[in-house]
């Protein structure tokens, strides 16, 4: 039965070595299946998902771009897959070189002085950066700084990360143009301000044109400026957060840097900081040998916030990010942001006649937010209904109900890896669905029809949780 490896048994049974209280009393039913059937099961299940490799995925704020298969192939190499994290540094120089080079690349792209690759996801990176900032202030004797400013349309991870860092959240309003309200920001800045967390372009897909003024205001108050890198794709290779005045950044390898999303993870959310924050980054640090061509981990980081991850971060994804950056080079990086923003603008121009785009004031960046509110008001059809109907037609739906600032929001981000023909087909689909909202609203309200299941009763799932 156990034919995956050669089975053995110890001479002394465990019951001889351990008292009964320490041994498991009842076996567990692990719903075992023979290999053939388990493979069938998962192949069947996998076919019940829509994935980027099978359809267009215009999910705003997620940057669902194509994941290069070169990354998927090379990582099966034993030298990567079999490396144990506790092997001596001398035995894993190739991997350490990859990590060091990735740190260097990410710092160059974002205009930071150093990078830390431990955070396993964007939210993890935010948390890491905030703790690093706290330690920085603590070292300066500035322990009064316990407030984090977050824009009102920020992603939920921003305030949650602040709370986990023991910091109080203050919300900064947006102005009528959908950008940070400078006056409100100035009113909320004080000597208790630790950090302002921003993404640029923001969650409405708009470039924060006053960013230099924002940075000046935050720094004048003695605070730090943090860049949520979720929207980096729009400015990749063209604008560096460091030049905009940001002191810290996180990047999402599973967004901007093409790592596949994994159905929800694993991702990777490395953080970068400017010089003044480097000593406080998590330990251990990766340092170069005196010959410049060898690498080692050091725990000699007296001001570090300490360990932040059980090993060295999501190394598999870090390696994939390294591969992507080599495939891109300088030519590729700038083409990415150009095509990402061009594709978004192309779609915006074609969607505008169909649905309002409330905060549009000229070209958008890599994404834009349309509103299905007219459909709701006229035909009783919500953004969610529109999304479900889109799924029916073999396209993934845009992000819905985020940012909250826009009612019945549909956030659309095509990314740069989509052909014009795909974008045109999406527009045709939107036209069809919107017309259907008028002619046959029930078809949207009851969608989807063609997927493995009809609309799932999420209310029932929450009222009577069945979790196993």
């Amino acid at each position: 039965m156990t034919y995956w490896f050669d089975r053995a048994r110890p001479r002394r049974p465990f019951s001889d070595c351990l008292p009964p209280d320490l041994l498991r009393r009842n076996s567990a039913d692990l719903m075992s299946l023979p290999e053939n059937d388990l493979v069938r099961h998962h192949i069947t299940l996998s076919r019940q998902n829509l994935c980027v490799d099978s359809c267009f995925y215009p999910l705003g704020s997620c940057t669902m771009k194509y994941s290069p298969k070169a990354s998927e192939i090379i990582v099966t190499d034993r030298g990567l897959s079999d490396a144990h994290p506790w092997q001596p540094d001398s035995e894993v120089q190739g991997i350490l070189a990859i990590l060091a080079e990735l740190q260097h690349d990410l710092a160059a792209i974002t205009g930071m002085d150093a990078f830390c690759l431990y955070p396993a996801a964007g939210a993890h990176g935010e948390f890491c950066a905030l703790k690093t900032a706290r330690r920085y202030f603590h070292k300066r004797g500035d322990d009064r700084r316990t407030e984090v400013l977050v824009p009102e349309n920020a992603h939920g991870t921003n305030p949650a990360s602040a709370a986990m860092s023991g910091l109080k959240v203050l919300v900064v309003k947006m102005n009528a143009a959908g950008r940070v309200d400078l006056a409100d920001l100035r009113a909320k800045l004080s000597d208790r301000t630790a950090v302002l967390m921003l993404t640029n372009p923001n969650t409405l897909g708009l470039f924060e044109t006053e960013i230099l003024d924002v940075a000046r205001a935050v720094h004048a108050a003695g605070g730090l400026l943090y860049y949520d890198g979720a929207n980096l794709n729009a400015i990749l290779g063209r604008v560096r957060p460091g030049d905009m005045g940001f002191d810290m950044v996180h990047v999402n390898l599973h967004k901007t840097f093409s790592i596949p999303h994994g159905g929800g993870g694993p991702g990777a959310g490395p953080i970068g900081v400017k010089k003044h924050l480097v000593p406080f980054l998590p330990s251990p640090f990766l340092i170069a040998g005196s010959d410049g061509s060898s690498w080692s981990w050091t725990d000699d980081c007296p001001d570090s916030i300490g360990r932040f991850h059980g090993a060295f971060g999501n190394v598999l994804n870090l390696i994939k990010g390294w591969i992507y950056l080599r495939l891109l080079g300088d030519e590729g990086i700038r083409r990415v942001s150009l095509a990402a923003v061009l594709n978004a603008n192309y779609l915006q121009e074609k969607i505008k006649p169909l649905l309002p785009v409330p905060y549009s004031d000229g070209p958008c960046m890599h994404e834009f937010v349309a509103s299905a509110l007219p459909l709701k008001e006229k035909f009783g059809v919500s953004a969610m209904d529109v999304a479900k109907r889109i799924l029916d037609e073999g396209f993934y739906a845009p992000t819905v109900y985020f940012p909250l600032l826009v009612r019945e929001a549909l956030m659309i981000e095509p990314t740069e890896t989509e052909r014009r023909e795909t974008l045109d087909r999406f527009v045709e689909l939107m036209k069809t669905v919107i017309q259907e909202a008028a002619d046959n609203p029930d078809r949207l309200r009851q969608a989807p029809f063609s997927l493995p299941v009809r609309r799932v009763d999420e209310v029932r799932a929450a009222r009577n949780p069945i979790l196993k």
Binding site: Y401, E458, V459, A462, R463
Partner: protein, 128 residues
């Protein structure tokens, strides 16, 4: 929309029915409609003491969670287990069977300062 006129109301859409020094508290139809299908109500522990407008409970739909504030100061005496086992009752009968808890008022004059039915109605209308 009309609201029962034997109740007092808060700006945060709680109602309270005061009988001498006991108050029964729930949320209004307006609030329930805004939340959508209620999936969970997190009630206070019996015996806890609160000040007026303290967070005392919370209520959830699939996509949102809202705090519920004590309309008056006092001690919680009874909670309505039905809204925990059947949260949908808050949607269907928020002023009746969907009540949430009862509170022994420590300062009965506080309820007089709450919103009248008419004032609450215009407040709710301006927020819809």
């Amino acid at each position: 929309m009309s609201v029962p006129d034997n109740l007092r109301y808060t700006k945060d859409h709680e109602w309270i029915r005061v009988d001498s020094s006991t108050g029964r508290v729930g949320i209004t139809q307006f609030a329930a409609d805004q939340l959508g299908d209620i999936v969970y109500v997190d009630l206070p522990a019996v015996g806890i003491e609160v000040k007026q407008f303290d967070v005392i409970a919370s209520i959830e739909s699939v996509k949102a969670v809202s705090d519920i504030y004590a309309p008056v100061s006092g001690k919680v005496t009874v909670v309505n287990a039905t809204v925990v086992s059947k949260p949908e009752i808050v949607n269907s009968d928020p002023f009746g069977a969907g009540w949430m808890f009862e509170i022994a008022l420590s300062n009965p004059s506080e309820s007089a300062a709450l919103l009248s039915p008419a004032d609450y109605e215009s407040h709710a209308r301006s927020h819809s």
